[in-house]
Symmetry: C3
Subunit: 176 residues, 3 copies
């Protein structure tokens, strides 16, 4: 089973070309260092539109067959920030522990980490993971939660992910 991973940058301004997307590339670079299995990237740059975000997540899950879709942007309290709601709308179950841990880790850097509404959820055989929009927070958040990602994907019957243990160590608990 080949490994397809979606990277979705949600940003009105980056998708209009007002500035360059630096968050999507930051996720790509991090995953390149983390994963020791061959994988194929599916990148999307879209505006903060609920219907558009939901359609993109559904496409990457149902058609492209991504086992993991990582979003960046749209997790704050502003009017246009709707990524967590769009994620919840397409997921069958939510994993609140991801958001809790990412906020807890980001709180060591900035007290405004509590404004981030990021979450994670499962759609069929796809784990959808929201990251904050700021490039600086991406490595911090991925490093915190990624040790649990390969086992999560095992549990939803996805492909077996392996990581470079010197960069990030995947953890798979023993049965019992």
């Amino acid at each position: 089973m080949s490994v397809h991973i979606g990277i979705v940058t949600v940003s009105d301004r980056a998708s209009q070309g007002t500035y360059e997307d630096r968050s999507g590339p930051a996720i790509r670079e991090w995953l390149k260092l983390a994963l020791s299995v061959p994988w194929q990237e599916h990148y999307r740059l879209i505006p903060d539109e609920p219907a558009r975000i939901e359609a993109t997540l559904r496409e990457l899950s149902d058609e492209t067959g991504c086992c993991l879709v990582v979003t960046t942007g749209g997790t704050g309290p502003a009017r246009r920030d709707v990524t967590p709601e769009a994620t919840e709308a397409v997921c069958a179950k939510m994993l609140p522990g991801f958001g809790e841990l990412m906020r807890q880790v980001s709180l060591h850097s900035v007290p405004t980490a509590i404004l981030s509404r990021q979450t994670a959820g499962i759609r069929e055989r796809t784990l959808i993971l929201n990251l904050p929009g700021k490039p600086a927070a991406i490595a911090e958040c991925l490093s915190a939660v990624f040790p649990a990602v390969p086992y999560c994907i095992d549990l939803i019957e996805g492909p077996r992910l392996e990581t470079d243990p010197d960069f990030v160590k995947a953890f798979r608990p023993k049965a019992g």
Copy 2:
């Protein structure tokens, strides 16, 4: 008012006899050491079926009159894991602090603690508490949250629970 406590193991395989339920007994043994008041156990072993879980929780709450129902199993990200959703479906209000604390404590042991979606909620005069399925995590999670359980049951007008303070210390805040 006598103390009735439900222990619900949610597991396809244990309920089919594929393996023996070790989680339900682990909860029983922990509660025996924790509680210093007489109590009666109501044990159920059921498959990961939403309707069945909901019916069992309603029965133990409404008919058996349990002040506390502790579930184990079905809290992960896998397709058949639906215990938190079934719990939410029968509860009038949710207590997110239980799941947050249990995940936080389990994170000291395993990075995959963030995959556990366990929660707690109130149905009439019953506190329903999800624990993870692995026996190893049960004592860890119960020890973390149980100090708050007797006072919670006071607040929902249930019977007064007392604990062995050498094993786990119940906390009841003073008014004001």
Copy 3:
């Protein structure tokens, strides 16, 4: 843009005059020490009635134009505790990080902090923040989350709040 702040004490007994509201005044005193910009208080003392709480939150947001509404009371597991549900009913988006951090901080004082269901959410240009009912916990919770409040209100296009940095330091992250 002038700064309007709502303080809502939700309590059956205080609103009937059975005892004096000490929580609303505790919020007022804390905000007086915290804020270095002129602000106007809008105080309400209401019973634990969902419709009444929702109407009060809507009024303070839509008509009075408060950028911040702080509630106290009604966040526990008891039958009449419905403030978080009323808050969620009037908010377009929820900010789970506020409740997580407040519970985490209160856990250092009392293990029953996990019983508090307090949350925060956004209604148009208003941040609604639930605090627990006990006056002792109010300063503790406000001190924990308030550093993120001025930036949150920036993001929802409200007035610029400034604080006395010797009392509580507002944090505004740099872009990027």
